[in-house]
Symmetry: C2
């Protein structure tokens, strides 16, 4: 008999149950050919004695092995290693495969090898402190509540039969819940066939642009603007026309000039807390943009990801709540109210557009996480989301004010900013005498990550500015970050 | 004082804690203006008496209200409804908004309003039994284990600081775990910079095709083939060339002929259990395809979503494990080993291609669910995934054999099929005398959903065939489904 006492080493300090440790090590020995097909294993009583364990443990280990199909019980003989195991090792088909591995370069040039340069959004590890450009604080989010709903759905097997069939438009429960939630919070009137659930608002932007734009079309965006939306439009071959943004948002006269010069495919708009400058679009301009959309016959993509976060003033109703004749495509997100890792966004538009969006969404990613979408529907209906937003707004208000105080105290002569009425970041413009690139390098040495300004610079303009995300930082973390920045100047 | 005993109705039969019921109803009354800014609420002792509750409950309710910012404590006066609440109601900006809602049609034609017709993958509700085209059985998947790992990560706030920064290539932990997992199971040698985690294998197909194809390019696919891949290629403006598929997979000679006629951008390949016919690509053809890729200078997109499911024969190593000089882009999925609602797939390719894939993935959907990706990494490393696959393969083998017996017993003269060596579906070709459209209609009346064949028909060919997914059905459900089909004929 094989020396199982040396072949099987049990480590009681690790979490893995002992019977699984035994099973796994026996599997390893079968894989390595120490144990071969047809070999007999000692009975559970003997094995237990060898390993100095209770017999129950040996039985559990053997049960696991036969459940996994490694051994079979032979009546009056014992436990035998399966005969046909060898069959289940992958078969080689080419002796020359050995040792081959992937290169760093594709052997042929590929069509989109020259996408617009992608500024890194991912600070390399090793930073103690990260200033993001406006993320929520996941430490506040009702992730435990969401997961409780999720967990309870995992326990309803019958639910799985339903989710087995693709649900590319998003869970009907969630779309139902959204109809009243959106009406209550945003005054937008719609039906479930006017909405699609996407993996975050970014996917809604990508899908809307893909359906609307053909190469060569003209797109109006804010300058400065949201780089990831601009890159989508460029990647689809559209020409971007940059419209200046002042303290009231997109400059309407500049939009009208552009409409007279070019045929406009779509206008991309962030009505609340324009990214990056955080300004809110004024009522007058909301009306003028809708009038121009009619007059010049273009579509408005309204990206209102920041609607839920207002501190000292309350939000304006979206353009999508206005008299838009289905010219407005409304986009929102739950990744901001929960955490950026929960990828749930939505798009509201005319039903025929949504039908095509569903089709394209299926080609990109069949469907979202249906169980999680149902769980979110429950949190919306029972009010947990609303309660969380209330609490988060209170805290983010404190954090915003604390950041502004700190900036005034320590960076007054270096940084210019307008206190935002909502959102998760302050648009901080640095004195050109202090280039952000240099500051970012110095800050990194002190364990602080900041973007070096490349996110917002365009071929035409360099802003030497960054979005100082305050929502994800505690008051102490904010003070610390500002302190480090001050020391880097 | 207001009649709070009638204003606040407590329902002890529902799950929502009493203090939250009180808080929610008071919020409702504040919202509706029954309670106004500046109003004083009765003290906790009085309120408790009115509602006949323990004072603790009233205190908890008031704490909730002030935590949410609805009331403030006025020393020596009591609890007052916040002054500046009104500010936080959305502001209208246009009186004409009232009553406006979305249309069924977009006012302007949009570029991609004519995407290839999308066969419905979603049986409308009300079916007792669904024959899918090859989904796993979520009732077997280790979703509880995955969620335990997920849950434990939610309890580590420091982890959230890391996930706050975008991770478009997928969690480093998961990519690390994949390197050895893929080497062990598939013999593919690569490094973390050769892999990107996507939301399901479909997104990998979409991204690979978007990077490789420009409008007018020629793509080789199997006939019959995977409709959702073909639709991606068509949607990107490529010309599809359909290569016949026999019992050994793609017919290599037909591939060579096509290569002599056209410049081929890419070849889309499903080496194991070709979709829909479930055949496996033979070793000889694997070698020939790699040789042709060299000779005619094209890229092979190897979609090996079914690799983990083999019953009577073991899988061949992928082409990506062969001598491919980075010409093979390898795509796989965990949605098949877990459930289609867990959207985790991956793509392995040359590093420069993956870098561009990461950039495009960011434009489509910033990143995946990072917490879940870390949880999956743990299940891969501790062997839970491997154990689950072993168990699932045992069960799916039984289900496959049971289905084939049932087909022989009850549909022998109507249905032709080859028993598949693996995968989750049997390709069942119906006698043309019995059109699937009719059968599907009759079956629907008996509560059974089957696809009516439109998934696999092409302009050139009508197969009158469907994929009979057995993996997601219990033995009883399989018998029942076959029984209903027999009665519909």
């Amino acid at each position: 008999m094989l020396p199982f006492d040396t072949l099987i080493i049990i480590d009681k300090s690790i979490a893995l149950p002992v019977y699984k440790q035994i099973a796994n090590q026996l599997i390893k020995h079968i894989r390595n050919g120490v144990l071969n097909s047809g070999n007999l294993l000692p009975g559970t009583r003997v094995m237990a004695a060898i390993l100095k364990l209770h017999r129950k443990t040996a039985i559990a280990a053997y049960d696991e092995l036969s459940a996994q199909g490694w051994i079979t019980v032979i009546p009056r003989k014992g436990f035998m290693v399966e005969q046909n195991l060898s069959e289940f090792r992958p078969r080689k088909w080419d002796e020359r495969t050995a040792g081959y591995s992937y290169n760093s370069a594709m052997p042929v040039p590929f069509y989109q090898s020259q996408l617009p340069a992608a500024p890194s959004l991912t600070p390399s590890p090793g930073f103690d402190l990260i200033i993001d450009d406006g993320h929520p604080d996941p430490r506040l989010a009702p992730l435990q509540l969401l997961n409780r709903e999720y967990q309870s759905r995992l326990k309803q097997p019958q639910a799985f039969r339903r989710i087995s069939s693709a649900m590319s438009q998003g869970s009907p429960k969630l779309r139902e819940a959204m109809v009243s939630y959106i009406a209550d919070t945003r005054g937008i009137k719609m039906q479930p066939d006017h909405i699609i659930i996407t993996d975050g608002a970014q996917m809604s932007i990508y899908i809307a642009a893909s359906l609307l734009l053909k190469p060569g079309d003209h797109v109006l965006v804010g300058e400065p603007g949201y780089y990831l939306a601009n890159q989508v439009f460029e990647q689809l071959g559209a020409h971007i026309i940059r419209i200046p943004v002042d303290e009231n948002g997109l400059v309407a006269d500049a939009v009208e000039d552009a409409c007279r010069k070019y045929k406009i495919g779509l206008l991309y708009l962030i009505p609340h807390h324009h990214h990056p400058t955080t300004v809110t679009l004024s009522p007058e301009r909301r009306m003028r943009l809708l009038e121009m959309a009619e007059k010049f016959n273009f579509i408005i993509v309204e990206d209102d990801y920041d609607y839920d976060f207002h501190y000292t003033s309350s939000p304006y109703l979206p353009l999508a709540a206005g008299n838009h004749h289905s010219r407005v495509i409304y986009i929102g997100s739950f990744s901001k109210s929960l955490t950026t890792s929960i990828r749930i966004g939505f798009m509201i538009a005319a039903a025929d557009f949504i039908r095509q969006a569903v089709h394209l969404r299926r080609l990109i990613n069949l469907k979202g996480n249906y169980i999680q979408e149902d769980a979110l529907a429950a949190l919306i209906t029972n009010g947990d989301i609303g309660r969380h937003l209330k609490k988060a707004n209170k805290l983010y208000l404190e954090r915003r004010d604390h950041l502004c105080t700190q900036l005034d105290l320590h960076l007054k002569h270096v940084v210019q900013y307008q206190k935002p009425s909502g959102g998760m970041a302050v648009w901080t413009v640095f004195n050109k005498a202090y280039p952000l690139k240099t500051i970012a390098q110095k800050a990194a040495k002190c364990g602080l990550y900041i973007n070096n300004g490349n996110l917002f610079d365009t071929p035409e303009n360099s802003y030497n500015a960054m979005r100082f995300g305050f929502a994800s930082l505690s008051l102490t973390e904010i003070s610390e970050a500002v302190h480090i920045l001050a020391n880097c100047i």
